[in-house]
Assembly symmetry: C2
Homo-oligomer: 453 residues x 2
């Protein structure tokens, strides 16, 4: 069987829901459908989730939320209208929303989670009603009854291990199960949401729990591109990539699927198919455990801005047992996570995401490194970009680095840093942010554009 997840833009209008129905009923294996809240119908539209957050804010500030409530209800009503559904389901959504708004606000984070979750929860009810109206056996699934138990961390809930066994019994239900994404229930019965992209997480958990053959993730692109389309026009689509490749690409800015969302499917070895609701016959991109790599060494190039490096030098550093550990210990004291630590003989750089530090913390960190580790020199470089060149095929490919560095040299990009050799599926270049775009374009040219003689 297949777990199928539809994103917000796939559920934004009645027209979109018709496509969803066609897709689901076209394959008898599609038994569990995870739904997001209705998303944007056009660029300036507001997602239901964002309306709900504004609604919660109004309530917490003792403002009358009725405008926001009306706006939310209007979205569901528009869909129901378009699909000629009876008023019953809209009344149900209306009552549910008022019940939530009237509930306890003493813990604001939890109240926000309760309202946010209604977007998916009510959309699942609507989708189930529509399927049934079309003569398809479909059931709304209450995550509480189904047993999706989560930790009590507002906005960042984690599935509890016992969820997997409980959710497995969904396999025994008849018809199509419509499961709301994005949230679960704590052991004490309260609603907690996952982090953003939380419906992807729900789908991944269900795919694992139900031992699905495939996890289909429907969104609004035909496939994952090999490079950011805002940097390179009409880039090549990726047909198949491995979890590891996806994770390396996600790290540096690929946002089609949130990398943490993949973990449950990854652990169970279930392939993930990213497909387009608006073009379901396109094969999409398949994320698998292993793949043939007959298409050259590189599958994708990703890049991300906003890094800085702390350079530390000390004569005879490499003779000093414990230096590296102490250095990382200082960062840990400030809760800073670091990305990489390229090192020479007497020097080491620590690469971090810049948004973790303000000037004050940076000064403290530098002073502690100078004073406690007796470094000869500590200096900081800002505004770095990291570029990941990713592909399982580069593992045993002599000359990939030569091609990549030649392309960068030709584009007059100075390589600030290279990290290669730990991951077998990627190499990483650090460049100045101003060089990022030029560097990515040069690498794409080198690895993806066929040479015309």
């Amino acid at each position: 069987m297949k777990v199928v997840k539809f994103g917000g833009s796939s559920l934004a209008s009645g027209r979109q829901l018709e496509k969803v129905l066609q897709i689901v009923t076209a394959d008898r294996e599609r038994k569990v459908v995870v739904v997001s809240a209705p998303g944007k119908r056009y660029a300036e539209d507001i997602k239901v989730t964002d309306l709900l957050i504004e609604c919660a804010d109004d309530c917490l500030q003792n403002k009358d939320p009725k405008e926001k409530v009306a706006a939310v209800l209007e979205r569901y009503a528009a869909i129901a209208n378009e699909l000629n559904l009876s008023d019953g389901v809209i009344q149900e959504i209306h009552d549910d929303l008022l019940t939530r708004i009237a509930s306890d606000k003493s813990k604001p984070d939890r109240f926000i989670d309760l309202l946010k979750a209604s977007g998916e929860d009510n959309n699942a009810k609507l989708v189930a009603a529509y399927f049934r109206a079309q003569g398809v056996e479909a059931h709304y699934v209450d995550p509480k009854e189904a047993g999706l138990l989560v930790s009590d961390e507002p906005g960042n809930a984690q599935a509890l291990p016992e969820s997997y066994l409980r959710l497995n019994s969904l396999n025994e239900q008849s018809g199509i199960q419509i499961f709301p994404g994005f949230f679960g229930y704590s052991l004490s019965g309260e609603v907690f949401t996952f982090s953003r992209s939380g419906s992807d997480i729900t789908g991944s958990i269900l795919a694992n729990a139900l031992k699905a053959d495939l996890y289909e993730n429907f969104t609004d692109v035909d496939a994952v591109y090999s490079v950011n389309p805002s940097i390179v026009q009409k880039p090549k689509e990726i047909k198949e990539l491995t979890y590891r490749e996806m994770r390396e690409l996600s790290y540096a800015g690929f946002t089609v699927l949130h990398d943490e969302a993949l973990v449950p499917a990854f652990r169970a070895g279930i392939p993930v198919n990213i497909k387009n609701t608006n073009n379901p016959s396109a094969p999409g991109t398949l994320i698998v455990n292993e793949r043939d790599n007959t298409n050259g060494p590189v599958i994708g190039i990703a890049s991300d801005k906003g890094f800085c490096s702390i350079y530390v030098s000390k004569y005879l550093m490499n003779r000093e047992i414990g230096f590296g550990r102490k250095l990382l210990g200082v960062l840990e004291d400030y809760g800073l996570s670091y990305e990489h630590t390229p090192s020479g003989i007497d020097d080491v750089s620590v690469i971090l995401r810049e948004n973790q530090l303000d000037e004050k913390i940076m000064d403290e960190v530098i002073n502690r490194i100078k004073n406690e580790l007796h470094a000869d020199e500590v200096k900081v470089a800002h505004s770095l970009a990291l570029i990941m060149v990713v592909g399982e095929g580069m593992r045993r490919n002599v000359g990939t680095m030569a091609k990549a560095s030649k392309a960068l040299a030709k584009a007059r990009v100075n390589i600030e840093m290279i990290n290669q050799g730990s991951s077998e599926v990627s190499m990483m270049f650090g460049v100045k942010e101003v060089d990022e775009k030029r560097a990515v374009q040069a690498l794409y040219e080198e690895f993806f554009v066929p040479v015309t003689v």
Copy 2:
């Protein structure tokens, strides 16, 4: 003024001492001369220091050391004979040696240090006697009287900070000061030797303490070569290199000057000139703080075998604050020093010198990483070589990596690892040991052999 140090081969015979005298008296600035013990006269010869170690071993095993004593005395006597010196100095050396042999053996390490140090100490007396016999004002300096105070670590003494001020008064002495290398005295008045190449250390300490303008280090090569002559025939000589370049090259197998020996001169910013006793008119190699880099980006290529890597992978590793520190903490518990830690998103490799671990320690380390850090995978790669491509000029040189990696690809060398970007003066490649020689040759061809059209 200049501090001048002569190595063992420069002092192995009367003929060599004549050269030393000529060199020292040819420049009035050469006021302090540091001497090693007599070295080898020919390939199969035994160094006096090695004879003294055998002598100490005999004494500690209650064997009669007279043969070894005779062999040591015979070396000094041969030099004295060749130079027509009076018997007085040989009698003095004989008496000194017997006094040392008769001394306390309850601490064997200290006894060995006491005997080893006599090689330099007595040679300084001999050299001073020869200089005087030639009408040159020269004085043997007793390191105890001069104030070269060291820590009480046998075979690994470190100069105490107060030494520097005390030794400075040597500047006020008239004539040429002949200073024995390799040892100093502890606060309690006992002899302790430096690590191997200890006479280089003595010279470096004196250059610092006396604020010398230059530290000349006379040995038996015309210059430091840009690459190991056993890998590339007749490689280019290096005219000038910086401390940092020297240190990076030393790290990976360049042995002309021991890198730790440079520290005191480095701290005082004193240039070091490596010269050839047998060809003193050759300019040699000058080690400086800064240099022009007009000769291309690369100054030298060094390589060293005997490394291994421990590869650790864990999904979502980079979200886990403290992972790196804990990993390095495990290594520290076993007293293991590591060289580099190239990292990907979900994986990190630790590169270590293989001779630190036996199979048992490796198994324990791997088990602790698996169990305490919950790693998904831990694996070990043996028999790696590290190649350092070194040069101040590569700091801002676009395309150096492209040239290097192209050369390696052409030579069909797979790059296991690259570490670049922390040190501004080097890039490091990890390759399999079997590829080492081919890789170094290819890099040398690329950077040093002029293209002939």
